[in-house]
């Protein structure tokens, strides 16, 4: 395996560069995936039937907490990658663990939120609106949950194998994924919560 030392470790081999480009293309597909969910959401948002509308169930505080947690975790994993480029394994691991903890915090808030919705009578089966709401949020939440496991695996690998071209590449790709989830959340925050709460 040829290693090109002029580049950061995660780009250093041909396979690494392929992996990163391939993952970017995958993110393109993910944009379309969430784009479709938003399409459905915008189409169904007013089809509330006998169930509640968004403004009746959304609450600003947990949403802001979730936003803050995910934004921060996205920032922290950026620091993690920076630490990785400096070769600081300890800092990198600390940042990655912090990221995952923030991710768990986000999920905890989201799950509580879902439970509140259920208690208020907005279930997956209530109306077309609640169905698409839970599906859109749930798809994002499932991505975060998957990311938690993935991140954990990577932390374990870095711990055991150190920062090598392979682990650096994996960590960098994971960071791309995590940032992307934050980007998706920004749109959920804006076009589902803010738009719903303000009834624009």
């Amino acid at each position: 395996m040829k290693v090109d030392h002029s580049q950061p470790l995660e780009y250093s081999t041909e396979q690494n560069r392929l992996n990163i480009l391939g993952f970017w293309i995958f993110l393109g597909a993910e944009i379309m995936l969430f784009g479709t969910l938003f399409t459905c959401y915008f189409t169904l948002v007013n089809r509330t039937s006998d169930g509640p509308i968004g403004a009746e169930i959304f609450e600003i505080t947990p949403v802001l907490m979730e936003t803050f947690l995910l934004l921060t975790s996205s920032f922290v994993i950026g620091l993690g990658i920076h630490a990785m480029r400096l070769g600081n394994k300890k800092a990198m691991q600390a940042f990655f663990i912090l990221t995952l903890l923030l991710g768990i915090g986000f999920l905890a808030f989201e799950i509580t939120e879902f439970i509140t919705y259920y208690e208020e009578g907005a279930t997956l089966q209530t109306s077309a609106f609640t169905s698409i709401l839970f599906t859109t949020l749930g798809t994002h939440g499932a991505h975060v949950s998957l990311g938690l496991f993935w991140g954990l695996f990577i932390i374990l690998q870095v711990r055991k194998r150190g920062i090598t071209p392979v682990t650096a590449n994996k960590s960098f790709i994971f960071s791309l994924y995590w940032h992307f989830l934050d980007v998706v959340w920004i749109f959920i925050f804006t076009f589902i919560y803010m738009k719903g709460l303000t009834q624009l």
Binding site: L18, M32, R47
Partner: protein, 649 residues
């Protein structure tokens, strides 16, 4: 017994019982045969665990051919039923199942994998690469498609086939009107195969962008590679839509969500919309690679370079973008206002422009050429006029005022068969004949091939042209019977005769393969057609590393110029080659997907959860695995190259 009753076919017939027995016997014979000839290890090591793009390509082709025959039998059953008025051969339910499975199989499990197979085999060779960007992912893609196809076919004997049409419009496909598991099969098997396709798209786009031989700029890429590139772009942005649509459909059926229901605010139009947001680009996913294949075959047998390379590329790029702007033409009659219909009418007609450019460029490629009438070329020559007819009827359909009369009729059926059969089927059959020597080391029999070709073309014309007329006369599609006084009878009889001709042609194709295996001269010919692109620059059969030395490209037709202008293609010495290791995990993972899918179809949650955990374990395994591949030493390369007669320099 209560537990097993869910597996019963809700609407059994002797044909289904016969197929159950036939399937059981075939499976038993295959297992017994493999065991008797002690081929299990060969099968496992050589094929099931392989990550070699050429072998994966061939496996795609074999599966696609099998599915072609399954779908073809469906087609014959439909034609037999419609041959005469008031026919009682099939009842309504069976007919509905047959046309639903025919559509799904032909589009998703025949045409798609056939195209994927050819892409797999040809693209890395054409760009001078040793494999695709992610060989392991490539194996996952194939096995996911394969398991999806198997799951779909299982519906015939366990639980019942889907019967709501290949487009499965809700609410007909919902629980209320389709209570049995057929539509679950539809949703889940297409989902599994679709994930595989999406991965292939990502894989090949990365491959084409990053792994081209030195000197091969984008504007020097062969046409089929360009076609594959644009196809991958469409796949990447179209398939997520299908993923979501199927997810929503599955949730409606399994978890009683309210996306497409009649009550609680559900919106049945949304399914149609999502289906065609994916479905229209899907049409171009099929046809663009076919265009690419024609653009390979026509120059070779005209002994000329492709005419208007730049405009060919530009038109494909345009088509790949426009394909996302036209989907509403599949439901002009859904009640949108005239201005919405006008917008989508016009975007649809605009797509005809780049397609027209391509047709004329192919004609001008033959102009002043030296045309040889080989079997692959014959398919191209039949393609041009027939596809033009299909294309212009497409423009007719695009005019939404008139579409109100064509929609849902046999006219539409005639139109899309008229583009897909001359477009895609002729392309893959022509290309299979064309690439056969590269894949298997011998040329297929010309005489039988030509006979099959004529049966296919004449059969096609007989089968589909009458449908234009009956469609305009009011024969709706998907009608399982019609009365004598409609006057559709004679035309349908002609169509059935045509279908039989096409069936004969496919039998002849099988015979051609059998005959050629027995009788063809098995001498390795690396360039039997005097072709122009890099895939012919390597040996036949292709060594696992494709090229001992990566070729240096400095023109659009690198191999042609190497042959006739003396440009050196292979410079430098042998170096050790890095190759990926085989792995059984992709196969295992797709088995877990199969279990997951089967569990979901029958709402057997424990099985589904086990399948899901299995999938995650495979992914975790991949994450922790340390697999750096292996090296082929210079000595080994020298040995192999000597065996094949040395590298051309």
């Amino acid at each position: 017994m209560g537990y097993f009753s869910r597996f019963a076919v809700p609407h059994p017939s002797p044909a289904i019982y016969a197929s159950m027995i036939a399937i059981a016997v075939t499976v038993f014979l295959i297992i017994a045969g493999i065991t008797y000839f002690k081929k299990w290890i060969y099968l496992w090591d050589g094929w099931i665990t392989t990550v070699d793009h050429k072998k994966i390509g061939i496996m795609y082709l074999i599966s696609a051919l099998l599915m072609l025959f399954r779908g073809g039998v469906d087609a014959l059953m439909m034609r037999a039923q419609l041959a005469v008025p008031d026919n009682k051969l099939l009842d309504s339910q069976h007919y509905n199942e047959v046309f639903s499975t025919h559509g799904v199989i032909m589009v998703l499990f025949m045409a798609m994998p056939y195209i994927m197979g050819l892409m797999n085999f040809v693209v890395p060779l054409q760009i001078g690469a040793r494999d695709v960007a992610f060989p392991r992912l490539n194996a996952v893609s194939f096995w996911l498609f394969f398991m999806g196809a198997m799951l779909f076919n299982l519906s015939f004997v366990i639980g019942g086939s889907p019967d709501a049409g290949w487009s499965s419009y809700f609410p007909l496909a919902g629980n209320e009107f389709s209570p049995h598991v057929g539509t679950n099969y539809y949703m889940i098997s297409i989902q599994i195969a679709g994930i595989g396709t999406l991965m292939t798209g990502i894989n090949f786009l990365t491959t084409i962008l990053k792994m081209r031989a030195p000197g091969m700029t984008l504007m020097r890429m062969p046409m089929f590679t360009w076609a594959s590139l644009t196809t991958c772009i469409i796949i990447i942005f179209a398939f997520p839509v299908l993923t979501i649509a199927l997810l929503m459909g599955t949730m409606d059926r399994l978890f009683a969500t309210k996306f497409f229901t009649i009550t609680d605010g559900g919106m049945d139009m949304l399914w149609a919309n999502l289906f065609w947001v994916w479905g229209h680009p899907e049409v171009y996913i099929l046809i663009l690679p076919a265009f690419g294949l024609f653009s390979e075959i026509i120059p070779t047998f005209s002994r000329r370079n492709i005419y208007g390379y730049t405009s060919m590329v530009a038109s494909m790029v345009l088509i790949s973008f426009y394909s996302f702007l036209v989907w509403t033409h599949h439901f002009f009659t859904m009640g949108q206002t005239a201005y919405v219909n006008s917008i989508f009418s016009i975007t649809t007609m605009i797509i005809a422009i780049p397609t027209g450019i391509k047709i004329f460029n192919w004609l001008f490629t033959m102009w002043r050429g030296r045309i040889r009438f080989t079997v692959p070329m014959l398919y191209c020559l039949a393609f041009i006029p027939l596809f033009t007819i299909g294309g212009v009827t497409g423009v007719m359909l695009a005019m939404s005022a008139a579409d109100y009369q064509y929609h849902n009729t046999m006219f539409l059926v005639a139109h899309f068969h008229n583009v897909i059969i001359p477009g895609v089927v002729f392309a893959v059959l022509g290309a299979s004949t064309y690439y056969w020597p590269k894949m298997f080391g011998f040329v297929l029999n010309e005489k039988i091939g030509k006979l099959a070709f004529w049966f296919l073309v004449i059969g096609f014309c007989l089968a589909f042209f009458p449908m234009y007329i009956t469609g305009l006369d009011g024969q709706a599609r998907r009608m399982y019977t019609y009365s004598e006084d409609t006057g559709f009878g004679p035309w349908n009889m002609v169509a059935t005769i045509g279908a039989v001709c096409m069936a004969i042609s496919f039998v002849l194709i099988v015979y051609m393969i059998y005959y050629s295996i027995r009788n063809a001269k098995k001498e390795a010919v690396s360039d039997p057609w005097d072709a122009r692109n890099l895939e012919w620059a390597t040996h036949t059969p292709v060594p696992e590393y494709n090229f001992a030395i990566i070729p240096q490209v400095n023109s659009r037709e690198a191999f042609w110029d190497a042959k006739y202008k003396g440009h050196p293609l292979f410079k430098g010495d042998y170096e050790k080659i890095h190759m990926p290791n085989n792995s059984g995990v992709p196969f295992l993972m797709s088995l877990f997907f199969f279990a997951l899918g089967f569990g979901l179809v029958f709402s057997m949650w424990y099985l589904a959860i086990c399948g899901l955990i299995g999938v995650f374990i495979c992914m975790a395994h991949r994450s922790f695995e340390q697999d750096h591949g292996r090296y082929i030493s210079v000595e080994e390369i020298k040995e192999t190259e000597a065996k094949y007669g040395g590298t051309h320099k």
